[in-house]
């Protein structure tokens, strides 16, 4: 099976002014596409190595699969995490997710503060996540390095929202001022999507 670039559910410019159209286009057409291309290549080599019983090659390919497969997984989630304002981007979470946020973090403001602090403190490249621990039935904030998917931090973690803090996600617009990017991205955050994922994992009364 080969993977292909999922379409963005909105135009490249639709998230402005929070995220520029230039960034969205490069991020989607170049960065995400490259992860997919290299993921497909690595999978092909992996199938080959498995068929030949070449265990050394199988193990050697793991990092390429983690990098590129992780990049594909993470970015596929990311595009769904964002929405233009006119389609509900930035609209606050209601319902069960809203209550869970209050219960586990005190308030939405405190959650955002925490995620932004984690995002600013993350050294190098990586992601900040709002996750559901489906075993503990708790919301948690996690970070992952490079393109490590959330599951590398715990097999029971389900991603609700991810924020890409690789420099390519913001540099052309925000330069070195990552805190401003983090402040503004909440204006286009697609809480509807996060609520749907949460409700599916935690069906409640």
């Amino acid at each position: 099976q080969t993977f292909s670039l999922p379409d963005l559910p909105y135009d490249y410019g639709a998230l402005e002014p929070a995220i520029s159209g230039e960034i969205m286009q490069l991020h989607h057409q170049k960065h995400h596409q490259t992860y997919i291309t290299n993921y497909n290549k690595a999978l092909e080599q992996l199938n080959d190595a498995i068929e030949k019983g070449d265990s050394a090659a199988v193990v050697k390919l793991q990092s390429a699969i983690k990098f590129n497969g992780g990049g594909h997984v993470n970015h596929s989630i990311f595009w769904k995490n964002l929405a233009p304002v006119r389609e509900g981007g930035g609209e606050l979470p209601h319902g069960s997710l809203g209550w869970a946020i209050d219960a586990d973090f005190g308030s939405l403001e405190k959650l955002i503060q925490l995620m932004n602090a984690e995002g600013v403190a993350l050294q190098g490249s990586g992601w900040v996540w709002l996750a559901l621990d489906k075993e503990l039935k708790k919301l948690v904030v996690e970070t992952t390095a490079n393109q490590d998917p959330l599951v590398t931090k715990g097999p029971t973690l389900v991603p609700l929202l991810g924020i890409d803090v690789w420099e390519h996600a913001y540099y052309l617009q925000y330069k070195n001022v990552r805190p401003d990017y983090l402040k503004n991205i909440w204006k286009v955050m697609n809480w509807k999507y996060a609520s749907e994922v949460y409700a599916k994992e935690c069906p409640s009364s």
Binding site: L26, K30, H31, T34, S63, F67, Q123, G124, S125, G126, A145, N146, Q147, W166, E167, H168, Y171, L172, K175, N176
Partner: protein, 302 residues
């Protein structure tokens, strides 16, 4: 840190200063997180590290590296590392140490102390500016070229390996050409190239702030492959940035100067190691003699 244009005299000063600092800081002491926290008492106003400008004007690398890039990369990123490092270490033991020693101590055998990121990135960036010059590129000459040809097969093969390392460093990091002084027994970290026993020159890559000082290598050349280093000029096209760096920016004079320093340091170390070995030999042989004398006397008494 000594800029590439320094005279031989000041290079030697840096050599001995670094040696002494390393010996004091890493061989005798057990550094713990506790020892690097703020001491009570009147606050010293600023710690001492300075943001030095690159050895050329910010627009001097155009069109290969834009003035914009230098303004942000040096003026914002590098400046922040230096300012934040000073804030972190003011009033602590780290404040009185040369930057290279701060890097090695805070690396702490891989269990990095909080100041490592800023210290290493301050060092890395100052080193990086010195690796480039207006009208750079071309080939090295003299001993550096000889060593490259010996250890890589050819200059072209070295370039291929260096470019590949830079292109395949996933996420943020650096690619390096380093001088390795043939010591596999590295005190403070795992040697990442343990098989390269006879080679003096090696290409290595590192992630985020890590640099080869922590592996006891002497860096000769580096390229910054954090996205902030190339995004304004090349966007996602890191391979193009790397090619431009090699063809138009790299300063082989600076690399050759560092090779001379590295060789001198290695020779000095070898001399000290030989002295220590000789001292141990003398001690050992004295002990044997004493034991033999004691036995003879006892048997004589009976």
């Amino acid at each position: 840190m000594v800029p590439a244009a320094a005279t031989a005299a000041s290079l030697n000063c840096a050599l001995f200063h670094r040696q002494g600092g390393l010996n004091r800081a890493t061989r005798g002491l057990q550094w713990t997180k506790k020892q690097c926290t703020r001491k009570p008492g009147p606050a010293i106003i600023t710690a001492k590290f300075e943001l030095k400008p690159p050895p050329y004007p910010l627009n001097a690398l155009e069109p290969h590296m834009s003035k914009d890039t230098l303004e942000y990369h040096w003026g914002k990123h590098h400046r922040a590392y230096v300012d934040n490092l000073n804030k972190q270490i003011v009033g602590t033991e780290l404040d009185s140490m040369p930057l290279e020693d701060v890097v090695i101590v805070t690396y702490n055998k891989g269990d990095m102390l909080p100041a490592f990121n800023n210290a290493a990135q301050a060092w890395n960036h100052e080193f990086f500016w010195g690796c480039m010059k207006p009208g750079g590129g071309g080939k090295p000459s003299g001993e550096l070229l000889q060593l490259i040809e010996r250890d890589f097969g050819s200059f072209e093969k070295f370039v291929e390996e260096f470019k590949s390392a830079a292109a395949t460093q996933f996420g943020s990091g650096w690619a390096w050409l380093v001088y390795k002084a043939n010591r596999l027994d590295v005190e403070n970290a795992v040697n990442p190239r343990p098989l390269e026993e006879d080679k003096k020159l090696v290409v290595v890559k590192s992630s985020n702030a890590v640099n080869p000082l922590v592996w006891d290598y002497s860096p000769l050349l580096t390229i910054d492959v954090w996205e902030h280093a190339y995004y304004l000029d090349f966007q996602n096209r890191r391979p193009d940035y790397i090619s431009t760096f090699m063809e138009k920016l790299v300063s082989w004079e600076a690399a050759s100067a560092r090779l001379e320093v590295a060789k001198a340091q290695a020779a000095e170390r070898e001399k000290e190691q030989r002295k220590r070995d000789e001292a141990e030999d003398i001690q050992g042989s004295e002990a044997v003699e004493m034991y033999v004398d004691g036995e003879t006397e006892d048997s004589g008494a009976d």
